[in-house]
């Protein structure tokens, strides 16, 4: 059965990197919300969301990322997505959200974006 979503957190320079592992749907999107809120409290210059271990995301997950982006913009924090997998990319495309986010290929690239 579905387990709690694990969201690893690490720091690279002035960036905090969040790395969730597993599917993100309505039963697990709140884990992302909590992790983002916690990371933002540290007031990083940039927040990098590494999605390379997320094979699936529904609209609950997308909504959480939009919330995170809006939170980051209000706090003048750069919010960057990394490692978008094919099915997650499709979810972004069908909802026309791709252009809203800064997207990098690797975490290293994101630290310079």
């Amino acid at each position: 059965m579905n387990q709690e979503l694990v969201v690893e957190q690490s720091s690279i320079g002035d960036a905090i990197v969040l790395r969730p592992s597993g599917d993100i749907d309505m039963s697990r999107a709140s884990s992302i919300r909590k992790a983002v809120a916690e990371a933002m409290r540290a007031q990083p210059a940039r927040l990098i969301m590494d999605l390379s271990h997320v094979a699936y995301m529904d609209s609950s997950g997308l909504a959480t990322l939009v919330e995170a982006l809006q939170h980051a913009m209000r706090s003048k924090v750069k919010f960057i997505l990394v490692g978008i997998t094919p099915r997650v990319k499709s979810a972004f495309e069908i909802t026309k959200l791709t252009g809203l986010f800064t997207i990098a290929t690797t975490v290293e690239e994101a630290t310079k974006a």
């Binding site: 749907d25 309505m26 099915r87 499709s90």
Partner: protein, 173 residues
């Protein structure tokens, strides 16, 4: 005891395919923890019908969104509500039909609409995803309460050709 709508009517309602029992018929509780196994089932069923990896990703997303809407709006996140899902394989020209039924709060089907995506805000994307992904989608109120959602997806021409080729190779001696 609740009987799924298609049984109450005594037959499958559609002019597009043979009137017959669904290939898969399941009942589940309105528990978000059950979304993952249903996605896996949809993915496997759609693969067997011949849908591409990209289409299967969108089909699992659309069904997930439909179920999430039932859980969130129909049952207001109560986990003990009942949901029935029936899956049919459509033979000609190839596709699937999925019917979801619930006993939750009824909504006027005319009010179920995609929202304007130019209005960037969290939430409200599910109906857009369903309508954009499926060849056909229709909501109706069930007599006696709840909602019924019918989803149809036809194989693309490319998927039909690849499916036919794959079947031909599998039947070759």
């Amino acid at each position: 005891m609740h009987r799924p709508f298609f049984r109450q009517r005594g037959r499958v309602r559609s002019g597009d395919f043979m009137e017959r029992e669904p290939e898969i018929s399941i009942r589940l509780f309105s528990d978000p923890q059950l979304l993952a196994p249903i996605r896996a089932l949809m993915d496997a069923f759609a693969k067997g019908v011949g849908f591409s990896e990209k289409t299967r990703g969108l089909l699992t997303l659309a069904l997930d969104e439909a179920l999430a809407n039932v859980i969130r709006h129909g049952y207001e996140e109560r986990k003990e509500g009942l949901i029935w899902i029936n899956f049919w394989r459509l033979r000609e020209p190839g596709g699937i039909r999925v019917v979801l039924e619930d006993l939750g709060r009824s909504v006027d089907p005319a009010l179920i609409q995609s929202r304007n995506l130019d209005d960037v805000r969290p939430g409200g994307l599910g109906v857009h995803i369903i309508k954009e992904t499926m060849s056909e989608s229709s909501w109706e109120s069930r007599p006696g309460g709840g909602m019924r959602l019918t989803l149809v997806k036809w194989l693309s021409e490319e998927e039909r050709q690849q499916s036919a080729q794959s079947q031909s190779e599998n039947t070759r001696p």
